[in-house]
Amino acid sequence: MSTTLQGRASSPGVAVAGAFVIRRVEVDTEAAAAGTPEEEKQRADAALEQVEATLTELAESKREMLGDEADIFLAHADFAGDPEIADMVHDAIDEGSSAPTAVTAAFDSFRALLEKSGDEYLAGRATDIDDVRDQVLDVLAGRQDAPVPTEPSVVVAHELTPSQTARLPRELIAGVACAAGSPTSHAAILSRSLGIPAVMGVTGLLAHVEDGVTLALDGEAGTVVVAPDDDQRSAFEQRITEQEERRERLSALRDEPGATADGHRVELAANIGGLEDVEAADEHGAEGSGLVRTEFLFQESAEEPSIEEQAAFYRKVLAGLPGHRVVFRTMDVGADKPLPFVVRDPEENPALGVRGIRLGLLQLDLLVNQLRALLRSRDPDAEQGTLAVMFPLVSAPDEVRRAREAFAVAADAEGIDHSNIEVGVMIEVPAAALSARRLAPLVDFFSVGTNDLLQYLFAADRLLADVADLPDVCDPDVLRLLGTVVEAAHEHGAWVGVCGESAADPASAAAYVGLGIDELSMTPASVPQVKDALRRVELETLQAAVRTAQDAEDATTARKVLREALGG
């Protein structure tokens, strides 16, 4: 008889494999010290040091695979090397504790302090502290090598720590199931970045699962079937085959251009926030970039980076995307993301204050220097992408004129002809969307920043859970507004892109293409699935769908219409 356990869907995909159960070994904290206090201290110090070194090494070796997620191991290494932990351990040993008991007490006292704070972030660190504590205890107990599966398995645990997840050989993990945790647990995040199906928070998991029993795990429905019968098993295996076929189909599309089934071109570009995204863009077959964020270049340094320093970075981005258009957005900073070298009075309402191009026009040197660096990054002898420049948070035609003047000043200073470089503006302020007709003659392109545009249109902070559901880009009247923006642009020979997470959402992407938007720029990893979805549908179908969506009662109905147009 099979049993189906319900958990929370945490990383997509399905898997059928034997269970590999990781159970925690309890430490006997009552045990007396094995050696003299001096010996126990040395044992404890050595174990702490070893764990610190192992975790530091783990962070470096996994950085390529995990990117910034690997920072978690540096944080853990830091906990193992914490001087207060060492002091507390020594004190406890002096009072007669064994090394394992002293280590447990030291980590647990910090755990209690952080949990007591009432701060959600700090309380969440309790799991991290437990993770590090257990690794130190493992070393003390001589459990050097954690057991690893010998064949592809579904890893089952009460809670899987990041270090456990990262240490398990990727090719042997078919899936991950945990009794505790949620889609935001580290193990879930790691599983997603490694492409491993995962279900977290499965009640009764460890009571039902023995080592080696077959599990069928569905990372989308959040279910774990223990000992599936033949029918269940073949249904899962069928889905695994489809999953693999889909993966192959997507990778076969890598070098194909973005287009609908009837050949209507839509450029599918990647949003770039750092050099790692440039690589990812190339890997996923993105056609250049519709948004290169440049602000982090400025936020990470105490003084304004020199023109040459900036140009060196821009050049690397251009070199990584040869043959495609690369749109650089001038720095989008403001009181919400202050720069160390720009001193301004604090603002009561940063979202409505000196942000984006407003700051650039007030501190013209900053803007001109950045534009000079962008111009300087072009190298006619090198194989590189085509530079385009975009100004953020524009709300009125006069700002565009002044930004273009700054561009001319920069070109003069560099002695470069800038007439063949495309210049565009972000459409993210409602006023800009409403005055698209007056902005269009001044630019070569618009790029709709859906995140900010929606936040301003609905007066709702998307990061505030209680109001986050209000804004929806598929709202019928938002779709109408976008339609007028596209019309205005095309009337003046300008093209229109969308950069924002919504470009990767199938229903929204369907609406954008139906409205005539020429380019969609999104997270690099989303490019293949959008490319695949578009290639299955004709332009006319999407045009009809978006017209129906514009007349819909609400965003939910509009979304349904758009999804149906995509064939489900």
């Binding site: 944080a75 914490d82 001087p83 207060e84 932990i85 952080l114 972030y121 936020q299 202050p338």
Partner: protein, 90 residues
């Protein structure tokens, strides 16, 4: 004992990575470094311990006091104040 108060301007305060950045910088000095939340009830804690710094639960806008004692105490103090003012790497 040199000491100075400074306001946390960076978004995450003394949490997450900024806490680590702060403790790491404190560790570079041989002198004792402690830190307290101004108006907080808790005693100053060892600034070289990320875990201790985290327990202060300092957020953006909170004022902290940095206290140094021993070799190069003045240099340690000004370096750490500057680090906090520059946003702790955020």
């Amino acid at each position: 004992m040199p000491s100075q108060t400074v306001t946390l301007e960076n978004e995450t305060g003394l949490h997450a990575r900024p806490a680590r950045v702060f403790a790491k910088k404190a560790k570079e000095f041989d002198c004792d470094v402690s830190v307290a939340k101004t108006n907080g009830e808790a005693d100053p804690v060892n600034a070289k311990s990320t875990l201790s710094v985290l327990t202060l639960d300092c957020h953006q806008g909170d004022e902290i006091e940095i206290i140094t004692e021993g070799e190069n105490a003045d240099e340690a103090l000004s370096t750490l104040v500057e680090l906090v003012e520059s946003g702790l790497g955020e």
